[in-house]
């Protein structure tokens, strides 16, 4: 049973790597109290998802979906849909990261610290 699972994981090595990176990002999110490090963990999780999606679209021994020499057979190209989905994801993650960093800058200017627990305590005490 375990051996079987392991051999499957080795076949799906891209997905395995994506899942492990996702886990690392999630752990970063949980363990660090620094807001910037939390954002880095969030971005790691994003990138793991892109790796997963891109690997789902790959087909062995086929080429990128750009028509060359008029070959228009489905057998010649990989799946183009995950590429479009990853593009959407990247744009949204850039926007979200920018807003998170802007909020972090704002918090730092107010509380002079990046530690999220400290900010929580001060904001409760200070009333703002």
């Amino acid at each position: 049973m375990l051996k079987e699972i392991f051999s499957h994981l080795m076949t799906n090595y891209y997905e395995t790597a994506a899942v492990i990176i996702f886990g690392i990002g999630f752990t970063t999110l949980l363990l660090n109290k620094n807001l910037i490090k939390k954002i880095i963990g969030f971005n790691l999780m994003d990138n793991a998802i892109y790796l997963f999606l891109a690997s789902k679209g790959y087909i062995e021994s086929r080429k990128a979906p750009i028509v060359v020499n008029g070959v228009r057979d489905m057998e010649a190209y990989i799946n183009p849909i995950p590429a479009g989905l990853v593009l959407t994801g990247i744009v949204v993650s850039v926007s979200v990261t920018a807003i998170m960093l802007a909020l972090t800058v704002k918090l730092y200017r107010r509380y002079h610290t990046l530690d999220i627990d400290e900010i929580a305590i001060i904001s409760k005490k200070g009333g703002i």
């Binding site: 079987e4 699972i5 392991f6 499957h8 994981l9 076949t11 799906n12 891209y14 997905e15 395995t16 899942v19 492990i20 886990g23 999630f26 752990t27 949980l30 363990l31 690997s55 789902k56 679209g57 790959y58 087909i59 062995e60 086929r62 990128a64 979906p65 750009i66 028509v67 228009r72 057979d73 489905m74 057998e75 799946n79 183009p80 849909i81 995950p82 479009g84 593009l87 959407t88 744009v91 949204v92 926007s95 920018a98 807003i99 960093l101 802007a102 909020l103 800058v105 704002k106 200017r109 509380y111 610290t113 400290e118 305590i121 001060i122 409760k124 005490k125 200070g126 009333g127 703002i128």
Partner: protein, 318 residues
């Protein structure tokens, strides 16, 4: 747990509720609200926090560290770390177990390779005129989605502008960043690199329907060129070619053109009217209907947004 206990302050429940509410004994002089009450005047929120001095900061941090270093808190922290690692490992294991049941990597019979991708590949060239099937997909079949993406970028830039805006010419409160304006090596390198990067970005945008690339990647490259220029020559010289007015006009114009162009093609498509936009010969630079112009629009929006993010974070203005 009765509250009548004499050593209630040291009891577990009190410590736990302290931990949950984040309660911390703060002396009056560092306590912002009490400090405010002592001065007995109405102050704005910005002034309120700028009243923190460095000494206050240090004192507050010491208090906070003392709070964290108490034995009980240490124990809670350790437990939290262990639990979070255990949770993360459990999630990884569950996901790995799921991955082991997924269809094999790179297999052509995977369920994801269904009739949708077949349709895109076999009829995409005829219907959109784009040699790059991904460009044809995202800017023709799924153009509404891409319009949403451009708007997301624009709105994100607006949000950052609202958050970090600094219209006065005062320096920012924490302006201790190095100013590279006088760096001669950077200036000489930028003189050579900026045109090359800019032309490469324009090439990637204009060839979006023919080769890998498109509005988003090309726009990011052009944004990088603008950022490099601003880094090397400073914002005064940058403002001569790219001011806030330019930013507003370019972004608004590009989004408006995108919206109008796609409204036209959606209108004609939904009512079965023949669109007057020619598809051209596949492979030529002026082909594939609207895709080239939409790529240019997206590229302009992305370049402006990337530069806008940089300059907003650097000095609070575009």
């Amino acid at each position: 747990m009765s509250k009548l206990k004499e050593n209630y302050k040291d009891s577990f429940s009190q410590k736990f509720s302290d931990f949950m509410t984040g309660d911390l004994e703060v002396p009056d002089e560092v306590h912002p609200r009490k400090k405010q009450a002592k001065n007995n005047k109405v102050i704005q929120a910005d002034e309120f926090f700028s009243e923190f001095t460095d000494a206050d900061d240090i004192k507050r941090r010491e208090l906070y560290q003392a709070f964290r270093n108490r034995k009980f808190m240490e124990w809670i922290n350790r437990a939290y770390n262990i639990i979070s690692v255990v949770v993360a490992i459990t999630i990884i294991c569950v996901l790995l177990f799921t991955v082991s049941f997924l269809p094999a990597f790179g297999d052509k019979d995977n369920p994801a390779n269904n009739e949708v991708s077949e349709r895109y590949i076999e009829d995409g060239l005829d219907e959109t005129g784009a040699v790059n099937i991904v460009a044809g997909m995202i800017l023709d079949y799924r153009a509404f989605d891409t319009f949403g993406e451009s708007n997301v970028l624009f709105i994100a830039c607006c949000c950052v502008l609202i958050l970090l805006r600094n219209d006065d010419d005062e320096p920012l409160p924490d302006e201790d960043v190095v100013d590279f304006r006088r760096d001669i090596i950077l200036e000489k390198a930028a003189k050579f690199l900026v045109p090359v990067i800019l032309v490469f970005g324009i090439y990637v945008v204009l060839n979006g329907h023919l080769s890998p690339g498109g509005g988003f990647s090309g726009g990011a490259i052009m944004g990088a060129a603008l950022i490099l220029f601003a880094c090397a020559y400073g914002f005064e010289r940058m403002e001569r070619i790219f001011s806030y007015k330019t930013f507003r006009r370019i972004t608004f114009g590009a989004l408006l053109f995108y919206g109008l162009a796609k409204s036209y093609s959606f209108f004609t498509g939904a009512n079965h009217i023949e669109s007057i936009i020619p598809l051209g010969t596949p492979g030529a630079i002026l082909s594939s209907g609207l895709i080239l112009y939409l790529n240019i629009c997206v590229g302009l929006v992305v370049a402006c947004t990337m530069y806008g993010f940089y300059t907003l974070f650097k000095r609070g203005r575009i």
